[in-house]
């Protein structure tokens, strides 16, 4: 149960200035692991994608995955970083059963990429520069599942299962410098920053970039200081905030919580916090202190990584267009207005619209579906739109059915609900639910006559050339047919009946 007091966000902003910092872990989608030849595949049977190296068997040695270095350099370049002339791995020593060697092989004081920046566009179009401190390579740990307890956490569990499939999966950790000056935009900036990183690694093709699978994981650091003070406050680190919305919410919540602590005249505790999506709150994790001594030292089993300048330039030449340029291009291609496009970006459905257009939908149809139908549903379900699982092909099929007059828009929306409920393909759902546009003109003509009779003044206006008034009649017909009529056909029949040609 969470009992932390919080201040309202507005009040917190009146008194304090937030400073943010992010550590984003990106799982690379290399074929094999960071230091072994075992496959790097998500979702397989536990402990099948492991060999003696991943299990930390006696006598084994690591070998660095060249593809992982290449991906790391690409990420570094896309973040406008400098690439190290030479860099080493280190051992981070701690005992925990998800780490087979009881140390994690990670870069420590010699990251492969450092001193970069990322320009983040906020919803109103302002650009905020986030400085990147470093991007370094490391290996992921295995996955522990705590069994027997009520919470799924280690406390109260009877035993724990460990899956080493993820142990040794290559990670790049991107660390920002402290981000100052975001003010009340801090939660928005947090979300936009993580979205931008995700977009970059996705476009580079170096990660599957699925947050729900943990391909991109964010630790968010928040501290507050009174307005006008230079020195940073004590920070908390909220771990594994694993959706874009959660990043925004977690930063907002921590700002409110810190503000309440500071207002009460108490010190903020430097600690890790756990994010709870259900309550949108954090709870205290482990206190960070000097007791955390990882006894880092250079990994003696690996030689330094020395990427040649020529290789770096070759990789630079292969980089895809930067996100800002890409946005400009997509907006032009799709013909969206500035406002329309910004809404699309802010809703986080630009990639989805691109995929839907690639699958055969027109730009306006894709926008209509994503912005008009899916974003709202995602909001209700409290997930990111991409996480609803809507396939581009589904939208293409639905919009084709509408164009062909088989169903109308209202029905299509209903069919989409069916698809999301797992009832089958759009065609199957139309069939099952008996959704089909009434195409026999007989019943339609009766309904049209009734509608015209009910609104003679409107009928008169249309006869007089005010064709736009036809909506009222169409509405009456649709109402009478409980939405099963093809609105296009209804319109045609009304005009025909009134002898108006357009």
């Amino acid at each position: 149960m969470n009992t932390d007091a919080i201040l309202s966000f507005e009040e917190a902003m009146e008194k304090y200035d937030p400073v943010l910092g992010f550590e984003v872990h990106v799982e690379l989608n290399t074929k094999t692991k960071m230091f072994s030849s075992a496959p790097n595949v998500f979702g397989d049977e536990p402990n099948t994608n492991v060999n003696e190296v991943d299990l930390g068997m006696p006598g084994v040695l690591p070998v660095v995955n060249k593809a992982a270095i290449e991906s790391s350099i690409k990420i570094g370049l896309a973040l406008n970083c400098k690439i190290a002339e030479s860099c080493r791995f280190a051992r981070k020593n701690y005992f925990y059963p998800d780490t087979p060697k009881n140390f994690q092989t990670s870069q420590y004081d010699e990251p492969i990429a450092y001193d970069g920046y990322l320009d983040i566009e906020l919803s109103d179009g302002t650009v905020f520069r986030v400085e990147i401190e470093r991007a370094h390579m490391e290996e992921d740990a295995g996955k522990l599942t705590h069994m027997g307890g009520a919470t799924g956490r280690i406390q109260g569990a009877d035993f724990s299962l460990v899956d080493y499939n993820r142990a040794g999966v290559p990670l790049v950790e991107i660390v920002t410098k402290p981000i100052e000056g975001a003010g009340s935009r801090a939660p928005e900036l947090a979300k936009a920053y993580v979205a931008a990183v995700r977009e970059i690694v996705k476009n580079l093709g170096v990660s599957d970039a699925k947050m729900e699978r943990g391909n991109v994981r964010c630790d968010a650091n928040v501290s507050l200081r009174p307005h006008g003070r230079e020195r940073f406050g004590i920070r908390s680190e909220t771990k594994n905030v694993n959706s874009l919305r959660a990043v925004e919410h977690a930063v907002r919540y921590e700002i409110q919580r810190h503000a309440a602590v500071l207002d009460a005249g108490e010190p903020v505790i430097q600690e890790t916090r756990h994010w709870h999506e259900d309550t949108r709150t954090t709870t205290s994790g482990r206190a960070k202190s000097d007791a955390d001594d990882y006894r880092y030292f250079p990994e003696p089993d690996l030689v330094p990584v020395v990427p040649s300048r020529q290789w770096i330039e070759e990789l630079r030449a292969t980089l895809p267009e930067p996100p800002a340029a890409r946005r400009k291009r997509l907006q032009a291609d799709w013909g969206y207005s500035d406002l329309e496009f910004r809404d699309v970006v802010n809703a986080g459905v630009m990639d989805e619209i691109e995929e839907t257009i690639a699958a055969g939908a027109s730009a306006s149809v894709a926008r209509k579906w994503w912005m008009g139908e899916i974003v709202g549903r995602a909001k209700n379900a409290d997930v990111d739109p991409g996480q609803l699982g809507v396939q581009p092909a589904t939208i293409v099929e639905l919009s084709r059915m509408v164009e062909e007059g088989k169903i109308n828009n209202k029905m299509a929306s209903e069919v989409l609900d069916g698809v999301l409920a797992g009832e089958g393909t759009p065609a199957e759902i139309v069939e099952k639910r008996g959704l089909a546009v009434v195409s026999d003109d007989g019943p339609l003509l009766e309904a049209i006559d009734a509608a015209l009779a009910a609104q003679p003044d409107v009928a008169e206006k249309i006869r007089g050339g005010k064709v736009q008034a036809i909506g009222a009649i169409v509405g009456g017909v649709m109402k009478a047919t409980r939405g099963q009529a093809d609105a296009g056909r209804v319109k045609e029949l009304i005009l025909e009946k009134l002898g108006v040609t357009v």
């Binding site: 006696p58 006598g59 059963p97 140390f103 003696p300």
Partner: protein
Amino acid sequence: MTDTKELIRLSAAKLAEKLAAGEVTSIEVTQAYLDRIAAVDGGERGVNAFLHVNAEEALAVAAEVDAIRAAGGAEAEALHVLAGVPIAVKDLIVTVGQPTTAGSKILEGWHSPYDATVVERLRAAKMPILGKTNLDEFAMGSSTEHSAYGPTRNPWDLDRIPGGSGGGSAAAVAAFEAPLALGTDTGGSIRQPGAVTGTVGVKPTYGSVSRYGAIAMASSLDQIGPVSRTVLDSALLHEVIGGHDPRDSTSLADPLADLVAAAKTGNVEGMRIGIIKELHGEGYQAGVENRFNDSLELLKEAGAEIVEVSCPNFQYALGAYYLIMPSEASSNLAKFDGVRYGLRVLPEDGPMTIERVMGATRAAGFGDEVKRRIILGTYALSAGYYDAYYGSAQKVRTLVQRDFEAAFTVADVLISPTAPTTAFRLGEKLDDPLAMYLNDVATIPANLAGVPGLSLPGGLADEDGLPVGIQLLAPAREDARLYRVGAVLESLLEAKWGGPLLAQAPELGELVEAKEAK
């Protein structure tokens, strides 16, 4: 058929010749060694060089080689020169089909699912593996007394230590229980046992033999190498196990030099051989010093130029070694926690948390010397101490490397006694770790610098009649020089002795029996 008593005393090179000529079969050779192991290794007063004897598999490999030879043709032609010559493997090196213990209770009964690269290469050469040899637990020691499975005894005097950590491999070869063996050398674990048992041991250039499958003590210092009775035999074995391995990132890419040819060069005329001022004299047993001087005389007579070099930073090498080695070891040994393999000990009472199970397992599974080094290393790497200990030790390491570089501008090969004393008595230094550590004072600099070193028998000390080792050191990647000088010195010494030094060793069979009769 050769008398088996003679057969087991032949060098590996000689055995290989006889096998190739069909004068003897691999089955006969392998069985002769297995019989010798059965005769002298076991029992209360046995040598205890072997922790595991791999008779069935060894004989099967021997039979395969014999069958190929008997059939003749291309396959027989393609056999490796050492095919059918048996070998023993230090139990720090993992093997499929045999247990690997590292001399520790924590790995008792553990079988590796994979072969070390060097073992793969032995198998490819079709060398029957006789078994796994005893060692100080996780190779931590200079006497093999820190083995969890009892000490190995020195075949020259069963009440003395065979050196360490590779006492098992050296004793097995010295006691004619194997013609060849593999060792590992982190601070002298191949060379010092070679010295005190009158055998040859080589620590190759760091990176020239794959470490994949050697259970790591100190990754930046460990190196697998050959153990044998002659310099040529070590060269033959070194060529089997050496060369690049993509599974070891520290493995050198260069092809191996022709070491066997180097061992057969036969002259040292004009070679500059450097005496290291800091590695003899004070602190060295008189008999050791005398035999060292004999070797210098012989080399000078053979036309080598003897020069003196100074390596002033070697005095800090031991101290630096005892920070770097335990630091790396403390991390390398963290994986032995009872979670995935090996021993698991549950706490006697209280909550069964992972920390407590790991703690109970490590408390019960590791011996005192291992714990001592883990504690030392953990301390040296701790925040606030890192710079003063690990950091300073790395600086010394650089200085030692520079000393070597300077020395090799005036000398082609350096020479010193391998160890300051001959074999001490079992138990003599067990309670005095620092005295034990001092035994490695002459071997450690080579590990810190990554340069190759070879120890060969230099004769018997006047005061105790026990073997003295002569160490040769060469620049990195110049292992061939060791074999060239080593083979020449060996032949000069054997000419002086009228045969191999081991011919002067006591008749072990009777010794073991006599002890048992007592």
